[in-house]
Symmetry: C3
Subunit: 224 residues, 3 copies
């Protein structure tokens, strides 16, 4: 389960030690951590990392299979998290130490910046292969954060990008060696910790108002 | 006139041996070829090439001059082809072995990927020079597929990009030597042939819904 | 105050010799210069430069402090200038010989192309630090002219880009040594002087119709 630590001005959210899929309890824990970060006084920034082979594999398809009647409600909650991170009034960096797939990759894209391990792990949007089309909101999020041909390739071919490829495609902003991903992300986040929160939140909310409208539209929360 | 061949999973559409302008009969033949590709069973991808000095020079201005009363209907049909290719549920690559101008360039941009001959031939949007402004739908298509400053330069200066320049501007995804353009495109398309068609079509349709809406709006089908 | 000169087909607008902030009289002088350029017969292009350490620092905050009741009217006028330059039916290049900050940077982004001094001066959007959020129209302008992650970094971190960094981030199209910025911009503009004005204006107006709608919406002219 997600846990929150603090390194000076930089909060470090660890998404967990397994595949870190978005179980409802996991979503609640992440939101509670974000509540704590937002409520903190003084300069602060956020780094989102994880432990082990995975950053996050996204939707909890096992839980969804057991709770098919809660599909729409679940997608609404997931998309609300994307919208929240995308407009968070706190500077934030995803420290992608392991695999980052599907809705996990979208959560990474909602962050301000991304640092990825150079030599192992993939960033991948496998939706076309697993036959789960992106919702309109998910499309809007991905299209808002990546260059046009990178979007097209990532969304239509399910290409797996290693760290170096992801940097070349401008999916991530930096790569780092094993064991240095988190530290690199923290050092990227720290100088941003003093940005005025209210202004930062307004700037992001206006930049991405079309995206958050799409993400928060329950009529678009269909994976079919 | 356009002809359709097959190389294993990869259909090869040859746009013709002259300037391959969009005469109504040419449009009908291209649409019939796309019908055949879409209706085929099993894994399949599409490569669109041509024979000789031209890939396509776009609108058939001679025919339009002789049929001025059919202008809007004609532009509607052309834009419908752009929208169809842009959201085709079949992976596709344009193999640009020769000049690719104006609406011909737009048709190339509607493809998933582009391979261009490195040493001869130009990609060019000459509309500003020939004083035929892009429709809103054409603008939306070009803006959806190229980086922002590339769009601005291409649409406002009518710059002629050779293969190497087009690669640097990220208009095309690869270049190849003379005689290897088609083979390079086929090898790029082949591994994509198994992508699930329905999901692929839904993904593209959602990604580009604003573009296809603009392309399919007859009130925007004015070249003036 | 702004002055207009002419070098053959190329008009050179000098924004002034101090910080070149947007005082209402300065706005009127710039608009009068643009009127003169637009009304000129024959081929013409525009280069916008300045004299001294600054290209422009943007909004005249001293004047605004003394005229708080005119805030909305003032922002409407500034945004009207951005919309005018963005869709100007005359090819134009910003010759950024000095600091280019805030609304000054936005005015530079409204130009077709940008040349920046390589070794001194910064391009910067400091709004997050000075706690003046971008209006929706300003957001739309910046987002229409820069790559996605460049937009995000520039708008959320207030990074100061030197010339070389601005070129790498594709904020500017070229850099030049001290004393060669203006000449480089003039030589970039000159071959474009013959572009048909009406078509060029229509092309730009359609490309950026969403941006100019946002810039011209008085209800969005709030800096708070």
């Amino acid at each position: 389960m997600p846990t929150l630590d603090r390194d000076g001005e930089v909060f470090v959210l660890d998404l967990g030690t397994d595949e870190n899929r978005f179980h409802p309890d996991w979503l609640a824990a992440v939101n509670a951590a974000l509540d704590e970060v937002e409520a903190a006084d003084g300069p602060r920034a956020l780094v989102t990392s994880a432990t082990g082979k995975f950053w996050s594999n996204g939707l909890d398809l096992d839980w969804l299979g057991a709770n098919p009647d809660r599909l729409t409600e679940y997608v609404v909650d997931v998309q609300a998290l994307f919208a929240r991170v995308l407009t968070l009034p706190v500077p934030n960096v995803a420290a992608i130490q392991g695999h980052c797939f599907a809705a996990g990759a979208m959560l990474a894209l909602a962050h301000d910046f991304r640092v990825m391990r150079a030599d192992r792990g993939f960033f991948c949007l496998p939706e076309v292969d697993i036959q789960i089309p992106f919702t309109f909101g998910m499309s809007a999020l991905i299209q808002a954060r990546l260059d046009k041909q990178t979007v097209h390739e990532a969304m239509t071919t399910a290409r797996r990008y290693g760290g170096t490829d992801a940097l070349a495609a401008r999916i991530v902003d930096a790569v780092a060696d094993e064991g240095k991903v988190l530290a690199t992300a923290v050092e990227l986040a720290r100088p941003l910790a003093g940005k005025p929160a209210a202004t930062l939140g307004t700037i992001k909310s206006r930049m991405y108002s079309d995206v958050t409208t799409a993400l928060r539209d329950p009529s678009g929360a269909s994976l079919g």
